[in-house]
Amino acid sequence: MKRISRRDFLKTTGATAVALSFPSILTGKAQAAEYAGINWKPSADEIKKWRQFEGETVYVLTENTPPSVGIRGAASDFTKLTGMKAEFTLEVMDPLKEKIFLDLRGGDPKFHVNYSQPRPIGCVICEYWTPINKFVDVKTGKSRMPDLPDVPDTPKGLHDAFMPLHPEQGCQYYDPELWYGLPYDTAMGMLFYRKDLVDKYGKKFEDQYAKPMKPDFNTTWDDLYDMADFINKNCDEVDSGLGFHMAQNWPINQDYTAFLMSWGVKKEGFSKIEHYEAGQRNPGPYLSDPQDYEKAVEVLEYMKKLQDVIHPDSKIWDWGGLGTAQATGKIAMQMNCGEFCPYVEDPNESVIAGKAGYAVAPKGPAGIHAYEVGASGLSIPAALPLKEQKKAWLFVLWATGPVGQWEAFTKYYGTPVRKTAYEEARKRGWLKEDATFRKAQHLWIQEIQMVDHLDGFCLGPKIPTYSQYLDIAGGELSKWIAGQTPTPKQCLDNMISRLNRLHKV
């Protein structure tokens, strides 16, 4: 038998490796050359910039919610465009916050991309992320680095490519000139109700209350109370007419924030907030305006009154617990984020699939339809070497771009923030009541709220002490609705004294 020398062996294996890799190189190039997504096809020059890190991996740390599940599902498109792989770590919000903080604080980040939920993550630790102004002209969307592509599909500038207020809410912190990422997803509050119950009991309700049972653009919070009360007294199909996410801290704060805005309290009750969307390092005294104070008293009274008609477990439900309660047929209506629509409409998961209707958030005495929004971005750690930041930037461009957003939405029910996704959905007839694409019903409401009711867009104060604010306000609110604080004024006074001490005012 002929003995193969070491040199021959290396020559043979080298040639084999080249031969084997040749078709894949060709295929990769062919894939890139053919790459085109909805409303966007990169030029050959741009393709080279997108593929400069071919074969490498981007590590993404994000929240375990439908938008990120969607982006993870659609990530093969990212690989097709860039030749890079994306590895995802998905966590629920609290552990996610810890992981991001520890990864950044350690000084040697292991993740290229962080989910930058402005509250409670970004407003606390935004300085660990790099402003993207160095990569891109935030007015035009044109790249500032010759080796990086422009932000895709921004003919009217970068800001205009996204749904209103999302760049400010999801990407700016304390300085409106700096962007710490690009808008990525939107979790937007809306009213979910049971159409079948409205059909069955609507006449009786109308006879009794002299108003329609079906929620519409004129529905007020008092109307919602009446509906819930009526369902509790007349419908055996559900345990309770209405559910809220009133678990202590963040969930109950989101309700409170929306109520405050509905009642006409400006800037969450903090007098010194100059740039509401970008936030303020020290928000000043809390509820120092006597009119705001009185409105807040009314809000607390309404929240207490709601306890008579909402499901008692609302006090421990967060968004997920509330969504499950409706999908299991326990409650008739819920005020929850639109991203739960695909879950509620999934016949494999929900007993009310096809029976749910969607409406804009009810309006309060100030005539504002206030709705909570979790407008988040994707950000890049500043401590990463520039090359790694560039890789991360390519992922951010794709995930917030027209193709990534559309793929994640249509295939995995993400919540897009790109205007092109809404335009395309409208062209296809999905943005209307009872559209055939049931799992996109939330997009219909989201668009109405963002176009017609932008004054109701609220998230809670964007301040560095947001976590402490949540603990104080959430704890006091929780005690108030549980009947442990005797009067709404005492609840507010407790909040005021503790928040003012926190902010040293």
């Binding site: 609290d94 916050k97 810890e98 903080f101 950044l104 604080r105 000084g107 409670p120 606390v124 630790i125 300085e127 660990y128 345990d239 678990a247 202590q248 801290n249 499901h311 008692p312 477990d313 609302s314 006090k315 421990i316 499950t324 309660a325 299991t328 326990k330 500043a382 401590a383 976590s467 402490q468 603990d471 704890g475 929780s478 005690k479 609705i481 549980a482 442990q484 407790n494 503790r498 001490r501």
Partner: protein, 320 residues
């Protein structure tokens, strides 16, 4: 001055201790001769222990006087007693202590009472091996899993316990965890379910050390079962109970796992015990300096309580 050739006679020079090397050599020999061999063997473990416990302890005290800055590149600030003073103005602290006291008292009474009772019941009983194995199963489940499990069991949509309580007319207002009046007690029940077996295990081991002939002698002297238990059995098993008490006490004083899984301190602050608040301060609010001050007081309380309990019980035994 004597004319000594150090190069030629190094041993002599060392013996006389007239050079630095010589003095060091003497010192080393002196130490090796005086320190017993087992100390050298234990030294690495002691050093590691010191690094992972004593250093963090002093670091904890240091941090309690600082404002730990989150922003990159900013140095931590010395704030003196601010973090300590803030504790007196924060209503969550006294509230947390009260809840912690309630939780620890209820858990200890239930776990010790049930644990000792069950151990006495199954000791020397037919099928003791089977029962002790069955009773140990909850302890084998991870605390976080126990939290999730009970969350499901108490869920008012599909939880069997919630259904049972509702059907029996005991509690029909949803989940026990959503009511500020019942949430803490529901968590006490979870922890009791999981950790009573540890008490059973330790007390059973203690019961095996009670001499049978002493018990027989007591019976022959006319003692009834209660007298035998209190005068013979209990003194024998007291050390085991003390160990069980201390283990569970220290564990309960820093307990957060099931609260974190089920209620996260709510509803209406009903389960925001001090350790839970400490967790929130550290990992949710990132107020590391303030959290260090709270953590130190909690640690101090655990140590003091542990010493008091141990001394009290052991003194009583000494008096006997």
């Amino acid at each position: 001055m004597p004319n000594i050739d150090y190069a030629a006679e190094p041993a002599v020079a060392r013996e006389k201790g007239t050079s630095v090397g010589g003095r060091l050599g003497l010192l080393c020999r002196s130490i090796t001769e005086r320190v017993p061999w087992y100390v050298w063997w234990l030294a690495p473990a002691f050093i590691i222990l010191a690094v992972i416990t004593i250093f963090p302890f002093f670091w904890l005290i240091y941090m309690s006087f600082m404002k730990i800055q989150l922003a990159p590149g900013k140095p931590d600030l010395f704030v003196g007693l601010e973090n300590w003073v803030d504790m007196f103005f924060d209503p969550s602290i006294p509230h947390g202590w009260i809840l912690l006291a309630q939780y620890v008292a209820a858990s200890m009474v239930l776990q010790l009472g049930l644990g000792i009772g069950i151990a006495l019941l199954i000791n020397n009983m037919k099928g003791e091996g089977f029962f002790s194995t069955v009773f140990l199963i909850p302890m084998m489940v991870a605390p976080v899993v126990v939290g999730h499990l009970w969350n499901l069991l108490l869920n008012s949509s599909y939880g069997i316990y919630a259904w049972l309580l509702k059907t029996l007319g005991i509690y029909a207002k949803g989940s026990l965890l959503s009511d500020p009046q019942t949430a803490l007690w529901a968590i006490v029940a979870m922890d009791t379910w999981e950790w009573t077996p540890l008490i059973i295990l330790i007390v059973l081991a203690g019961l095996k050390s009670v001499p049978k002939d002493t018990i027989e002698a007591a019976h022959m002297d006319g003692s009834n079962r209660f007298q035998v238990f209190f005068n013979v059995t209990l003194p024998y098993i007291t050390p085991a109970i003390v160990i069980a008490f201390l283990l569970r006490f220290m564990d309960n004083m820093r307990f957060i796992d099931k609260i974190l899984i089920t209620t996260k301190g709510g509803p209406a602050e009903a389960t925001k015990t001090l350790p839970m608040y400490l967790f929130l301060k550290t990992f949710r609010q990132f107020e590391i300096g303030a959290a260090a001050a709270i953590g130190f007081t909690l640690l101090f309380a655990i140590i003091i309580c542990g010493i008091i309990v141990t001394n009290t019980i052991l003194k009583e035994r000494g008096a006997e």
